[in-house]
Symmetry: C2
Subunit: 303 residues, 2 copies
Amino acid sequence: MTIPAKAILKEVGPRDGLQNEQALVSTEKKVAWIEKLTDAGLNYIEVSSFVSPKWIPALADADDVFRYLKRKDGVTYAALVPNAKGLERALRADVDEIGVFVSASDTHNRRNVNKSTEETLTVLNDVAREAKSAGKTVRGYVSTVFGCPYEGRVSIGQVEKTAHALLDMGIDELSLGDTIGVANPLQVKQVIRQLKTTIPTGRLALHFHNTRGLACANIMAGLEQNIQVFDGANGGLGGCPYAKGATGNVATEDVQYMMESIGVDTGVSLKGLVKAAEYIEPHVGTKLPSYQLQLQQEEEDGA
Amino acid sequence: MTIPAKAILKEVGPRDGLQNEQALVSTEKKVAWIEKLTDAGLNYIEVSSFVSPKWIPALADADDVFRYLKRKDGVTYAALVPNAKGLERALRADVDEIGVFVSASDTHNRRNVNKSTEETLTVLNDVAREAKSAGKTVRGYVSTVFGCPYEGRVSIGQVEKTAHALLDMGIDELSLGDTIGVANPLQVKQVIRQLKTTIPTGRLALHFHNTRGLACANIMAGLEQNIQVFDGANGGLGGCPYAKGATGNVATEDVQYMMESIGVDTGVSLKGLVKAAEYIEPHVGTKLPSYQLQLQQEEEDGA
């Protein structure tokens, strides 16, 4: 069982993290935080989401965050977009990469965006085409890949169908999301093993929540299937407001710790990630579930 | 990569858990808790430690816990013993299995029991011989297998030497402890792969702390190396008072959740374990780090 020598960590905290926290973090603090994240060596930041402010007040300042951000060379500043209107704002903000999303399970998709997956795919088709013709790369998030809060286990066939629908639109990378944190390592291997038969692993990323303590075990399973791109949220921020108990994305720094300890090079500084988490925690106002942050705080307390 | 169809969870919460908590739980409550743990289907409980009450006040009532325990058929009620005096008490209490412990790293052993590993092995040799001649099985805990807070990385050779010293005394099973929670899945595979060359996997168990969020990934690695016995502490209780940040054994119920989701039969009820954790948490008086407990509490709160 070999694992890749290198991996890429994609930071979704400013979007997927803050989207699911109660606190409204100011634009200024978001910008300062994102700078700390890229200082740590992350070269992919999902900055915000161009959805209606009515839906997600925490991300209402997406345009401003992009306006005030001092961009660094070599960093991709991405944003999520639900529809044509969102894309228009995203293109005006000159985001580097457009993220679109659809659930593998129809019921979750309906509850999330009030459309069937088919209807959403039609919308995304237009978004992806326009984004590509504007010279942008596009990332597709597939939600509920490993389980749906309404439908339970989702079949691999359904995931495969959704994945191919997105790839057929010209979408560059798919992030397979364990939206409610129910994935297990055997399932991760099974799903990837099947998808690999028709999709190059280089186009697949994994997005785990640590709701049941299995995120790192699942990432390890992904590495063993030669997946090299993993999403994380600094501090372990976020979750899913529609899914009970879906507490938080896996903390990017906890993933980084594992990568370092198993000798997988990500180019990211663990110390830098912990610093960024220390910065954002008081502004979010809740104790964040990051192991590395907690260890750092205990050290500072002399515990 | 196949994994075993069955595994055994050994519950160390009443000893390794409570030993490292501030709270003094009453004998009556310990007994009630242990009954809930066996009600959940656990058939191995490390009940207490026969050490000097000066050292570990939380376990000063070891004799009484055994006295008041209503034993169930098929359950092994074990206790830790540091020396001949402890063994005498343990035999008087008629414990089913004797646990002894030594660190793989000399410095940790000296800080822990004020003896070199060689000196400790001499003591344990007598304890093991006497225990065996009293008809008891003996479990050997090897601490700091995956890292020492003073010496850093511990060589596999050192672990192997310690393991064989214990097996040569007639000790039945070795529990390889990640005392400070620094093990990673690749290392677990490497260590087991090496030990397997001279020790049957049936005589090895793994004991992880979830300090850095990798316990389940490490257990998965152990399963993939055909290890079938894993220690856990209900609620994720405990830690190591000599090691900064060593927050808690992996929660037995979190391990059970993983085992169920990957189809490994342990004969234990997840619900029963969560009930036991719900019972003990208020008596310990701190928020316990168990994912499954938290999910249950959120459900009850209607969160």
